[in-house]
C-alpha cells in the first residue's frame, strides 16, 4: 500500500521534473493556456456585466420578465418597434380579467398593462410661446400688478408678437405667390385674419380688450404659422402607478411623477433632447459629446463641421424667441462675454456660434451661462399640456391633450435611440388616443350622443362586460368601442381639459379596459422558464387565448443584442481554445516523440502502460492547472485594474447602450472564474490525451536502440 503511494510519488516527480527539464515546451504550452484563461476570465466578466446591465435595462424599463398579449395578433409583440414599424396587436379586451388570472400564478410579482404606439405631438411654435407670455402679462395686470417693470415687459411682449405676425405675413406672402387660384380662394379668410393682426389699428386697440385680442391671435393667427411642427413620439400607455412599482429603471430627471390615477405624460428625456430642444443647443451638446467623449475634432470631422455651420445659419430660431427686452439683454451679455464691439444681435450670435476645436468649450459655456437663461430651451416645459394625435384603429385621427408632469429617462438606456426614446403616458389617455374605451364609458357617450332611448348594448351584455364572462372573445367586440372624433375646441376645450386633468381614475377604471400587452415581473427571475409555463397553463385553464413570450423575445432586435454579444464571445473562446488545443497537442506530441527512449526504458524496466498514460496526462494537467490558475488570477487582476481606472468608457452611443451607462465597470463573477478554470482543465486534458495515448504505444524495444540519450 505504501508502495502504491511510492509509485504515485515517483510519477508526480517525473512529471514535474520533466516540466522543468523542458522549459521551452512548458512555457509555450503554459503561455497559451495562461492567455486563454486570462481572456476567458476578462471576456466573460465583461460580457456578464454587459449581459446583466442590458438585461437590467431592458427588463427594468419596459419588458419585465414576461409579456402577455392576444394570441390572435397579426404580428409578434415588439416592444421597441419591429422592422416595419409598430406591430399590429389585437387588444386584450379586459385587462382586469387577465390580471386576476396572472396574479394567482406562483412567482408572479406584478402585472402591468401597456399599450405602445407612435403618435404625433404638435410642438407648438414660437408664436404660441410668445402669446403665452403675453397672456401671463395680461393676467397679472388684471390682478392688479401695475408696476413699471410689468408695464415695460407687457409692451415688449406685445412688440414681440406684433413683429412675429409681420414675419408670418411675409412668409405667407411668399408661399401665396406660388399657390394656385383654388388654394387662394380657400385661404381667403386666413389672409384677412392676418391682415387684421398686422394692422396698426388692431394693436392700437389691443389694450381695450386684451383677452379678446389674445383669443383672436391664438385661435385664428397662430395656427397659420408655417413652423407649426409635429414630431413623432413613441410612448407606452400604462398604469403609471403599477409601472413604477414594477419597473426600477425609470428615473424622473425633471418634474414629478403623474399623481396616482390622473392623466398625464412623462416625456422621454432623450426624446426631449432630440426633438424638443432648441436645435442650436442640441447641436452644441452633440459637438461637446463628440469632442470630449469620442475624442473627435471639429477640424477633422465632416459632421461636426456641418453642425457648426448649421448653428451659424440658424440664428433665426433664437432671434424669434427673444422679445425686445430680452434681445437687448442678450446683446449686452454677448458683447461682454465675447469682448466684441458688434451691436447687432444676429452678428453676435454668429460670432458666438463660429466655433472650432480651440474655442468650443469657452463658447459652449457662454451659450449656457449667458444666453440659455433668456431662452426657452425646450419647446415643452414641465406643466405644459401637449396635444398628441394618432390615427385610431378606424383610421381617423384622434387626439388627446395631456399634461406634462416631468421628463423621464431609463437608466442604462439614456442614449439608446431605439430603446431609450420612450415616453410614458397614463393608460386612460392611451385608450382615448388608440380609439378604445371601456364598455361603460362607450355606453355613456352613446347615451349622450343619441339621447336616453338609443341603446345598442343589450343589458345582459353590458352586465357581462361589467362582471366578466366565461367567453372573453365574445365580449371583446361589445366591450371595445371606438370613438374617433374629438370635437371640442377653443375655450370650451381649455375648460374641458382642466376638468379632465384633475379627474382621478380609480384602480378599477384603469384596470377594466383594454390594453395591448401586459408586462409580468417575477419574484425570482431565475425561475423564468417554469413561470412562463405556469402562466401559459393558467391562461389556458382560464380559457384566455394569449401568447406568452419572455422579455428577450418581446424586446425584438434590442433583446437579440444580448444573445449576439454572448454568441460572439463564446465563438471567440471556442476558436481560441480550438487553436490552443491544436498547438498544445502538437507540442505534446513532439515532446513525446523526443522521449520515446525514456518511455521505452521505463516500460522495459516494468512500468505498465497505464503508468505512462498517467505520467503524461499528469504533465499536461499540471501545466494546464498551474498556468490556468495564474492566467485566471491575472485576468482577475486585469478586471480589477479596469475597475480601479473607472471602467471602459463608452465612446459612442451604441457602446453606451451595450454598457448600460457611460462606462463599463466589469464585475468579476465566481462563475466566470469557475468557467475559465473548467475550460482550461478540459482543454489541457483533451490536448494531453492524444500524446499520452501515443506514448503508451511506445514498446520497450525502443529502449534497446543504440544512440545517445
Amino acid at each position: 500500500m505504501r508502495s502504491r503511494a511510492g509509485a504515485v510519488g515517483v510519477l508526480v516527480q517525473i512529471a514535474f521534473r520533466n516540466l522543468f527539464a523542458s522549459t521551452a515546451k512548458t512555457l509555450i504550452v503554459g503561455g497559451i493556456i495562461l492567455v486563454g484563461a486570462l481572456l476567458v476570465v476578462v471576456g466573460s466578466s465583461l460580457l456578464d456585466t454587459v449581459d446583466r446591465g442590458m438585461r437590467g435595462s431592458i427588463q427594468g424599463s419596459l419588458a419585465g420578465h414576461l409579456q402577455v398579449y392576444n394570441a390572435r395578433s397579426k404580428d409578434d409583440l415588439a416592444l421597441y418597434g419591429g422592422m416595419t414599424g409598430e406591430s399590429q396587436l389585437e387588444v386584450i379586451p379586459d385587462f382586469a380579467a387577465l390580471k386576476a388570472v396572472l396574479e394567482k400564478v406562483a412567482n408572479v410579482k406584478d402585472v402591468v398593462p401597456m399599450g405602445i404606439d407612435q403618435a404625433m405631438v404638435s410642438t407648438g411654435n414660437e408664436l404660441d410661446v410668445a402669446l403665452e407670455k403675453l397672456r401671463e402679462d395680461v393676467r397679472r395686470r388684471e390682478t392688479g400688478d401695475a408696476s413699471a417693470e410689468r408695464r415695460r415687459q407687457y409692451e415688449a411682449h406685445k412688440a414681440h408678437v406684433r413683429r412675429m405676425t409681420e414675419l408670418l405675413q411675409a412668409e405667407l406672402r411668399e408661399s401665396r405667390s406660388i399657390a394656385d387660384e383654388k388654394y387662394l380662394r380657400e385661404r381667403e379668410a386666413e389672409w384677412k385674419d392676418l391682415d387684421r393682426a398686422t394692422a396698426g389699428a388692431f394693436w392700437d386697440g389691443f389694450d381695450r380688450d386684451p383677452l379678446a385680442s389674445l383669443e383672436f391671435l391664438e385661435n385664428r393667427v397662430a395656427p397659420l404659422s408655417l413652423s407649426n411642427g409635429f414630431t413623432f413620439i413613441r410612448y407606452a400607455g400604462t398604469d403609471l402607478d403599477a409601472y413604477q412599482r414594477g419597473f426600477d429603471r425609470m428615473r424622473i430627471v425633471e418634474g414629478t411623477t403623474v399623481p396616482k390615477g390622473q392623466r398625464g405624460i412623462l416625456l422621454g428625456k432623450l426624446y426631449a433632447e432630440d426633438w424638443l430642444k432648441l436645435k442650436t443647443a442640441r447641436r452644441l451638446d452633440r459637438i461637446r459629446d463628440a469632442l470630449h467623449v469620442q475624442k473627435k475634432r471639429i477640424a477633422e470631422d465632416e459632421e461636426l463641421s456641418r453642425w457648426v455651420k448649421e448653428n451659424q445659419a440658424a440664428t433665426r430660431d433664437i432671434l424669434m424667441q427673444l422679445d425686445p427686452l430680452r434681445a437687448e439683454e442678450a446683446t449686452r451679455r454677448l458683447r461682454a462675454a465675447l469682448r466684441s464691439s458688434r451691436t447687432d444681435l444676429h452678428e453676435l450670435l454668429v460670432e458666438l456660434l463660429t466655433t472650432d476645436d480651440r474655442n468650443f468649450d469657452e463658447r459652449y459655456a457662454i451659450f449656457y451661462r449667458d444666453l440659455a437663461p433668456l431662452l426657452q430651451l425646450y419647446m415643452v416645459k414641465v406643466g405644459d399640456s401637449i396635444t398628441i394625435k394618432a390615427p385610431s384603429k378606424s383610421g381617423y385621427m384622434s387626439s388627446v391633450n395631456v399634461k406634462v408632469y416631468g421628463f423621464a429617462e431609463f437608466r442604462g438606456l439614456e442614449k439608446s435611440a431605439l430603446a431609450g426614446i420612450m415616453s410614458l403616458m397614463d393608460l386612460v389617455s392611451w385608450r382615448d388616443l388608440y380609439g378604445y374605451v371601456t364598455a361603460e364609458k362607450a355606453a355613456e357617450i352613446r347615451e349622450i350622443q343619441r339621447g336616453a332611448g338609443a341603446r345598442d348594448l343589450p343589458r345582459e351584455q353590458a352586465e357581462a362586460a361589467l362582471f366578466g364572462s366565461a367567453a372573453p372573445a365574445a365580449v371583446a367586440t361589445g366591450r371595445a368601442v371606438r370613438i374617433d372624433d374629438p370635437v371640442l375646441a377653443g375655450v370650451a376645450k381649455r375648460k374641458a381639459d382642466a376638468a379632465l386633468y384633475s379627474r382621478v381614475y380609480s384602480q378599477a377604471e384603469i384596470d377594466h379596459g383594454v390594453a395591448l400587452n401586459a408586462a409580468v415581473t417575477l419574484h425570482d427571475p431565475a425561475r423564468l422558464r417554469q413561470s412562463m409555463k405556469d402562466v401559459k397553463d393558467a391562461l389556458a385553464r382560464a380559457g384566455m387565448d394569449m401568447k406568452v413570450v419572455d422579455w428577450q423575445k418581446a424586446s425584438g432586435l434590442v433583446g437579440q443584442f444580448v444573445s449576439l454579444a454572448r454568441i460572439i464571445l463564446y465563438t471567440a473562446v471556442f476558436i481560441i481554445f480550438a487553436v490552443a488545443l491544436v498547438i498544445i497537442n502538437n507540442a505534446m506530441v513532439m515532446a513525446t516523440l523526443q522521449r520515446v527512449k525514456e518511455i521505452g526504458t521505463v516500460r522495459a524496466i516494468g512500468a505498465q502502460k497505464r503508468f505512462v498514460l498517467a505520467m503524461l496526462l499528469l504533465e499536461t494537467g499540471v501545466v494546464g492547472v498551474a498556468f490556468g490558475v495564474v492566467g485566471a488570477a491575472l485576468g482577475a487582476g486585469v478586471v480589477w485594474l479596469i475597475r480601479a481606472r473607472g471602467g471602459i468608457p463608452a465612446t459612442n452611443d451604441q457602446l453606451y447602450f451595450f454598457y448600460s451607462g457611460p462606462s463599463l465597470i466589469p464585475e468579476l463573477g465566481t462563475a466566470s472564474l469557475g468557467v475559465a478554470l473548467a475550460i482550461v482543465a478540459v482543454v489541457s486534458l483533451l490536448s494531453g490525451v492524444y500524446p499520452a495515448l501515443l506514448a503508451t504505444r511506445v514498446t520497450p524495444l525502443e529502449a534497446m536502440q543504440s544512440g545517445d540519450d
Binding site: M1, R2, S3, R4, G6, A7, G9, V10, Q13, I14, R17, N18, F20, A21, K597, E598, T601, V602, R603, A604, I605, G606, A607, Q608, K609, F611, T699, P700, L701, A703, M704, S706, G707, D708, D709
Partner: protein
C-alpha cells in the same frame, strides 16, 4: 536444476516493408541459474534479437521461449511487463537512465513500481547497492553529472535492486573505454558470484567475453556453437 531460460527452436522474422528479414532461424539454447553467459557474434548476427526474446520485450515468430518456467507466448502484454519487473533486470548499451531523476531515484524506481517494501527497507537496499557499485557519494547527482562508467554502474544497481534471478545486458561495455568496461564486467561478475544471479550479456569484444563462464556464438541467426569460457574453470573451481 531446471534451466532459467529455455529457447526451443526459435525463429524471428522482421517484416521491413514487403521483404521479410529473418533475424533468428531455429535457435535452441538452455541457460542455467548462476551462469555468467556471453552471447557473442558480429553485428547483425541476431544476438540483440535473442536477448530481446529472452528479456520478454519481444515474442518469437515461431518456437518457444521459456523464462523462469513460463512460456512468453502464453502471457499477456501486462503479464510480460510484470515478469520483466519482478524477474528480470536490464542493463542497456546506452545506460538509459531517467534523466530527470537522481541517481538514488533511478535505482529506487523499479522498487517503487513493484511496491511491497516499506520505505526504510527500500532505501536501505538502494543505499547498500549504490555502496556496492561505488557510488555512495553520488546519490543526489543527476545522470548528466556522471561519467559513462558511473552511469553504467547506476544501471547495474538499478538492474539488481529488485534481486531478479536473471539480468540481461546488451553490449554493456560498447559505449565505454576498455578499462571502464572491464570494471563494469568485474562488477557484474562480482554480483554473479555473490548472489548467484544469472547474467546474460551480449558483446563482440573478446576481452569481455573472456570473463564469461560460457560463450554462445551466434552467426547468421543460428547458434554457431557453445563453449566454456575462460572463466569457466575458475568459476566452477
Amino acid at each position: 536444476m531446471p534451466a532459467i531460460v529455455a529457447v526451443e527452436n526459435v525463429s524471428k522474422i522482421y517484416t521491413l516493408g514487403k521483404t521479410e528479414v529473418p533475424a533468428l532461424r531455429g535457435v535452441s539454447l538452455q541457460i542455467h541459474r548462476g551462469e555468467f553467459l556471453s552471447i557473442a557474434g558480429p553485428s547483425g548476427s541476431g544476438k540483440t534479437t535473442l536477448l530481446n526474446l529472452i528479456g520478454c520485450v519481444d515474442t518469437p515468430t515461431a518456437g518457444r521461449v521459456m523464462v523462469d518456467g513460463k512460456d512468453t507466448k502464453d502471457l499477456s502484454e501486462r503479464a510480460l511487463t510484470d515478469l520483466r519487473l519482478h524477474r528480470i533486470g536490464f542493463i542497456f548499451q546506452t545506460f538509459n537512465l531517467v534523466q530527470v531523476l537522481s541517481v538514488f531515484q533511478n535505482v529506487e524506481f523499479p522498487l517503487l513500481l513493484q511496491g511491497g517494501l516499506k520505505r526504510k527497507e527500500r532505501e536501505g537496499r538502494v543505499r547498500a547497492l549504490l555502496e556496492a557499485v561505488g557510488l555512495a557519494e553520488h546519490v543526489r547527482h543527476r545522470p548528466s553529472e556522471l561519467s559513462g562508467g558511473q552511469r553504467q554502474r547506476v544501471a547495474v544497481a538499478r538492474a539488481l535492486v529488485t534481486r531478479p534471478p536473471l539480468v540481461l545486458a546488451d553490449e554493456p561495455t560498447a559505449n565505454l573505454d576498455s578499462q571502464t568496461g572491464g570494471h563494469i564486467i568485474d562488477l557484474m561478475k562480482e554480483m554473479n558470484s555473490k548472489d548467484g544471479t544469472t547474467f546474460i550479456f551480449s558483446t563482440h569484444d573478446p576481452k569481455v567475453m573472456s570473463h564469461a563462464t560460457a560463450i554462445v556464438r551466434i552467426a547468421d541467426g543460428q547458434v554457431a556453437g557453445r563453449e566454456a569460457g575462460a572463466a569457466a574453470a575458475s568459476g566452477r573451481r
